[in-house]
């Protein structure tokens, strides 16, 4: 029997959660014994070619590309986990939800004090994904199965969650792993 596969992605996040995944350090070898990494920034595999057991999602959805990626994860993964506060609640990127997007774009590209943009052009290239009206947590776009709180969740938390999911035992995180203050 082939090893179960695991995929990860970073949507509207800062890659901090992926740093935390890497922070499991030498346990990465242990993990590689029981799973196979599939589509992930860590492997640089770009598209799903096989079905995955677990998908770890960092970040919420800020643009149409985030939505496409997240939907692809939903179609190709059995279990989807929101990792970190941006995926769970929108996090820092969602602060822009209180401002009209046109104002956001103008501030970023036209009116910012350090911006030099004499033509006042807001980038609109076809390569650039369009922003959503609001930054949304992952569960507002697709069904999510679990969420791990934290900014970022600690390596131990991620480790405990992934190993529990792989062994199909209940995910029961002790309090110190989900307590942040």
């Amino acid at each position: 029997m082939s090893k179960p596969r695991l995929a990860t992605c970073s949507l509207a996040g800062c890659f901090g959660c992926h740093m935390s995944i890497l922070d499991i350090d030498e346990r990465m070898l242990e993990l590689a014994e029981v799973i196979q990494f599939h589509k992930s920034p860590i492997t640089d595999i770009k598209t799903f070619t096989e079905r995955c057991r677990i998908g770890l999602v960092e970040g919420g959805c800020a643009n149409e590309e985030n939505v496409e990626v997240l939907r692809a994860f939903r179609r190709n993964c059995d279990i989807l986990v929101s990792v970190g506060d941006c995926a769970t609640m929108g996090g820092i990127p969602a602060l822009r939800n209180f401002v009209e997007i046109e104002e956001c774009l103008r501030e970023a590209y036209v009116d910012g004090p350090s911006t030099h943009n004499p033509d006042g052009v807001i980038p609109r290239d076809i390569e650039l994904p369009l922003l959503l009206d609001k930054v949304r947590p992952a569960h507002e776009v697709v069904h999510m199965d679990y969420s791990l709180p934290g900014c970022p969740p600690s390596a131990d938390t991620i480790w405990a969650a992934v190993t529990a999911l792989l062994s199909e035992s209940p995910v029961n995180l002790p309090y110190p792993l989900v307590k942040y203050d």
Binding site: E64, E68, R74, R75, E102, L130, L132, R136, V142
Partner: protein, 609 residues
């Protein structure tokens, strides 16, 4: 310029009310009427004349929907958008007004003449769609009528001129002159029985106050507003409470959507209501009574003041009433300013004191510390009419009607899909089926008992009865025919609660919005089975954690319809085959960005493989 007209107007009005802080409602209403708004300068002036902080005045003004900080047109048209009026054609009427005025809802015409707004139930469900034009009620509207009303007002901006034919009964009284119809379909033996003016008070003052309370207790009279608290007990608490003076208040803030019985009662039987209030005053030892009249019924005010004057002239109010030495009692009318929550008694008391109509924390109960921190009784209009009849004819006569636990009669305000909408006085204990037969509703799919905060029952429950043991209600009965959509009705009720939530506690302020959002998601065909469970959970949370009765009942439309009409919801929700959230609409979400970029999204055809 030179002088400051705002300051002068405020000074005049403030002096008229003795510069008393607790008369803020009358002062603010007066300023609104004279200046078309209570603007920033008026707020400052009021604050300084009353010696209170600016924020207190501003907080007050912004709380009530009939007061505004922004200038309104000289003619304010308020369209009633409750569910029954929506069924009767509110949308067409709105469009009619919008086209004729060239503005949309919420706007004022550039010449400053007209403002068009929506408002919660006006208490005219039996003759909707209805609207208020300043204080004048216009009923049975259509888009044609909307246009002709605007035309008439452009020629002559006095709304009184819109009334060409008067309604029945006292609606034609020279001091009312309204087109409102009573639609009193069934006058029963208690509330709408023949009046014997003055008799009840004479009988009351001939016995001791404790005996009056005993008579009310013997009649087993319970509050007619819906909660059903024993009236005699309430009076006894207030009578025994320490502190003086004591106050009695008649709650005529009939704001529950679908309720309009008090309107008819105040139009046709005001003496009976005032007599009841006077008797309440005698029983608890009060010398002042207040009729809290909702702003929507302002057209009745002059008439009611006239009735009070007549009672003073006849010795039924004033000093030594009916020859009883030492029993001095008078009644003043306190106008509201458009807030449903003021129907809750502690919110109503706050409003009478010139505060925001936010409910108080209980205890202390009003009977201990109510109006101006004095022992206070608040009774419903209908309850007080019953009191008068009990004193007139004796408790035994009262108990001949109704059931052992729910004695007497009940006024029902029936509206919606039925042949004969209007007010009915029936014995307590009547079945829903009996009600439907009476009002000519043969194919009702559902009946909402008790207004927006009440409960919806379906045909399987039509043998349930209207009384305090089963379906306890203030009397609003809304009938829905077979073509009505339940989620649409619920959505209309939720609009109402979102609007009327006072905002103090989070479960109610936020929860009502979330419920509305979920219901609308289901209506739009984007609901999932999990949404129904979530609605129930959320509804229960709001019910258990809200601060007052408004919040505690705000989830009722959702909870009762899911309970009684689950199949309707089940048929409207489905799972997404890919596990996408059906509530998320990518095309909708990128629309603004598409506009800014001036190009279509490359994802506009959603990938579904």
């Amino acid at each position: 310029m030179g002088e400051n007209p705002v300051g002068r107007v405020v000074e005049e009005i403030a002096r008229e009310h003795g510069r008393e802080r607790w008369r803020l409602m009358d002062i603010a209403r007066g300023v609104q009427q004279r200046l078309g708004c209570v603007n920033s300068r008026a707020v400052d002036a009021i604050a300084s004349w009353l010696g209170v902080s600016r924020v207190e005045v501003e907080g007050f003004v912004t709380f009530y929907s009939f007061l505004s900080t922004e200038p309104k047109g000289r003619v304010v048209i308020r369209l009633c958008d409750d569910v029954i009026d929506r069924m009767a054609g509110y949308e067409e009427v709105r469009r009619g007004f919008e086209t004729a005025l060239g503005i949309s809802l919420g706007q004022t015409t550039p010449d400053g003449v007209f403002t068009l707004e929506r408002t919660a139930c006006l208490g005219m469900c039996d003759q909707g769609p209805a609207a208020l034009v300043n204080d004048v009620v216009v009923t049975n509207l259509s888009s044609d009528k909307a246009r002709s009303i605007v035309r008439a007002l452009r020629e002559n901006p006095r709304p009184e001129r819109l009334v060409q034919r008067f309604g029945s009964g006292n609606n034609a009284h020279p001091l009312v002159r309204s087109m409102v119809e009573n639609n009193l379909r069934k006058a029963g033996p208690i509330v709408f029985s023949e009046q014997a003016r003055g008799e009840a008070i004479r009988k009351a003052v001939a016995i001791r106050p404790a005996e009056v309370i005993r008579a009310v207790k013997t009649a087993r009279l319970r509050g007619r507003g819906g909660a059903g608290f024993p009236t005699g007990m309430k009076w006894e608490f207030a009578r025994g409470a320490e502190g003086s003076p004591k106050y009695v208040i008649c709650n005529a803030d009939e704001g529950e959507p679908g309720t309009f019985k008090d309107r008819v009662l105040l139009t046709e039987m005001p003496d009976r209501v005032f007599a009841g209030l006077t008797i309440a005053g005698y029983a608890v030892g009060a010398s002042e009574g207040i009729l809290y009249l909702r702003a929507e019924y302002a057209y009745l005010r002059r008439f009611l003041e006239h009735i009070l004057d007549r009672r003073r002239a006849d010795g039924l109010l004033g000093k030594d009433i009916c020859g009883r030495a030492g029993f001095n009692f008078d009644i003043r009318i306190q106008m509201g300013a458009g807030a449903y929550v003021c129907g809750e008694e502690t919110a109503l008391i706050n409003s009478c004191e010139g505060r925001r109509g936010e409910p108080r924390t209980r205890p202390p109960f009003p009977a201990q510390r109510g109006y101006l921190d004095c022992p206070t009784v608040v009774n419903n209009v209908e309850t007080l009419a019953c009191v008068t009849r009990i004193l007139e004819a004796g408790p035994a006569t009262f108990c001949e009607h109704g059931t052992p636990q729910s004695s007497g009669t009940k006024l029902l305000s029936i509206s919606g899909d039925c042949g004969l909408p209007g007010v009915y006085e029936v014995g307590m204990g009547i079945s829903v089926r009996g009600v439907l037969e009476m009002c000519g509703a043969d194919e009702a799919m559902a009946v909402q008992v008790g207004g927006a905060s009440g409960r919806m029952v379906g045909p399987a429950s039509y043998n349930r009865t209207i009384d305090f043991d089963d379906l306890s209600t203030g009397g609003a009965i809304m009938v829905f025919g077979p073509d009505r959509s339940i989620p649409e009705i619920v959505s209309a009720f939720m609009d109402f609660f979102v609007d009327e939530s006072c905002g103090v506690c989070t479960p109610c302020r936020v929860g009502t919005r979330l419920l509305k959002e979920r219901i609308d998601r289901i209506r739009a065909g984007r609901g999932e089975p999990g949404d129904i469970e979530e609605l129930v959970q959320l509804g229960e949370t709001i019910k258990q954690t809200s601060r007052c009765g408004l919040g505690q009942s705000a989830a009722n439309p959702v909870l009762f319809t899911i309970k009684g009409f689950r199949h309707v919801y089940d048929e409207m929700v489905s799972h997404d085959p890919h596990g996408y959230q059906r509530s998320f609409d990518l095309n909708e979400s990128v629309r603004e960005a598409e506009r800014i970029a001036g190009r279509r999204s490359i994802h506009h055809r959603e990938v579904r493989t």
